[in-house]
Subunit: 313 residues, 2 copies
């Protein structure tokens, strides 16, 4: 049981980004991937345009709280080739994963054919090279582990199915293009805060006890769905093995900018940055409208996974 009143300590200056911070026309600034490079914090965030479709923007910060948005969008739907066909309706919800000197960015690509996961890479956050569309349709919320396992890349994602509650699957790739050995490893728990569906959230990060994954879970109420955040701990050597899923959520919509907005009652994460002092900065979209952040003690989150777990399946 969680004896602390709150696992995540919200930043007093939330929201840290709103559309007013963006020097080009957007209507939202929300789900943001996060990475720290040589002491600088970078967010790659999703924004809705006024046609209802999404693009990705870039923001930089020295302290992880006060961000300056780059003057131009970071990434917009491709204009030619196969990516243009599948990004026609927009690109959404990025995640950043550093492997060696590359920053891999997975994102949702929407088109008339459904929603699938695109993968691109950058080394400098100026130019972006698209690698592949790594799922068919419909998939959202792919995160890569920032390490290879027995020579293969590993991702988590969330396929849509008509048969089962939407769950978290794992897949493997030798080359980032061809993926296989997929398995479902974590499912919503009935009559639980995440009973409707779950999905990968932030890129997992390494702790002494395992890979910590901040995911999202959804509960359907009579007045719409509520998105909250939870934590799961994956084995360091075998990320398909879940050592524990915290029974309790770690964050739910409570602040005005999380409870009301474009989509009410949503906290949704695409990025978390572990710090050397044993804390982690978690970034989340509030009500699909703004970016918020907060801090948690990594050992607290790990402890919550191990001390009061629910079964992953």
């Amino acid at each position: 049981m969680n004896l602390k009143n709150s696992m995540v300590h919200r930043f007093k200056g939330n929201p840290i980004l709103t559309k007013g911070n963006v020097p080009y026309a957007v209507e939202t600034v929300h789900n943001a991937a996060a990475v720290k490079i040589l002491g600088e914090y970078l967010l790659v965030f999703r924004s809705h345009l006024r046609n209802g479709r999404s693009i990705l923007g870039l923001a930089r910060s020295k302290d992880g709280c006060n961000f300056v948005v780059a003057p131009e969008p970071f990434m917009v739907p491709a204009r030619e080739g196969v990516f243009a066909e599948y990004e026609e309706f927009g690109i959404e919800d990025p995640r950043i994963c550093q492997i060696d000197n590359d920053f891999l960015i997975s994102y949702s690509a929407y088109s008339r054919h459904g929603v699938r996961i695109g993968l691109c890479k950058t080394s400098d956050f100026r130019s972006v090279e698209r690698i592949a569309l790594i799922t068919q349709a419909d998939y959202r919320n792919a995160v890569l582990f920032p390490a290879k396992f027995q020579g293969r890349y590993v991702r988590l994602d969330r396929p849509h199915t008509e048969i089962a509650p939407w769950s978290i699957w794992i897949s493997y790739s030798p080359d980032l293009i061809h993926w296989g050995d997929s398995r479902v490893i974590m499912k919503p728990a009935p009559y639980h805060w995440d009973q409707m569906k779950i999905g990968p959230g932030a890129t997992p990060f390494r702790t002494s006890k395992g890979w910590l994954h901040v995911y999202h879970g959804v509960f359907q109420t009579m007045d719409g769905a509520v998105y909250r955040l939870g934590v799961a701990l994956h084995d360091l050597e075998d990320p398909a093995k879940i050592l524990g899923v915290a029974d309790e959520w770690i964050l739910q919509p409570e602040e005005p900018c999380e409870v009301t907005g474009y989509v009410h009652n949503v906290v949704f994460t695409c990025g978390a940055i572990p710090e050397d002092d044993g804390t982690v900065k978690i970034y989340w979209g509030g009500a699909d409208t703004v970016v918020c952040m907060g801090t948690a003690v990594i050992d607290d989150l790990v402890g919550l996974c191990l001390s009061a777990p629910r079964p992953p399946m």
Copy 2:
């Protein structure tokens, strides 16, 4: 325009297999993969058990019309390991593809996690070795091309999506385990006999003009869905390129055993065998209850694809 009254000439002795031909307890004998080996015809067919779940049976014939069913089931859900978890609710709708000396069999694996595609192989149709589960959920109707293209295996399948009408996708693999470079290549046509959904049918076979693929298309009526068969021609060198999709269906439910049965108004194919005389034997399930067969002239089917095509997308 199709000036012939019918593209497919039904065998007079249809249905060629019913549950009465099976020496073990089953309630249906329907969707059958087909292959011809050294002059012998083999069917691997789906049967419902009385618990509502499906297994696969084997039948052999000297003439392609009169089949004898093997005394034991050919393949039942795996009892251990990862395949057992994903085949819990049954295995369905096999397709056979010969590459080199192996016969690859793709099938639908049902479980509480959704429906995905399993892949196994056999060299003798006695023992079967499972290779991998090659999709996540939900997917059905995977067929492999009986050739490699630039060193890669190629499959067609049909992902379920909430966003688009269910369509035919292509994917590639270097090793049969990891798959990628997926694209949608053929979609249902609005207000057309296949407007609700389409899916791969028989394993494509080589003709002088291209790979001929007999697929299924579905139209939703006020009294349920009607499954018919159509044909598409794929480029010999680049199977993602469709040279033509026949505007007209080639077969619809008309015989009593196709119009009525467990699922009314279904003709559904999992296998077709091209013959040296320029004809092709097409096998189809009638009303999800029995196996039927018929013969078509390959040049007629190719001509229908090229002379009166509709756009594949």
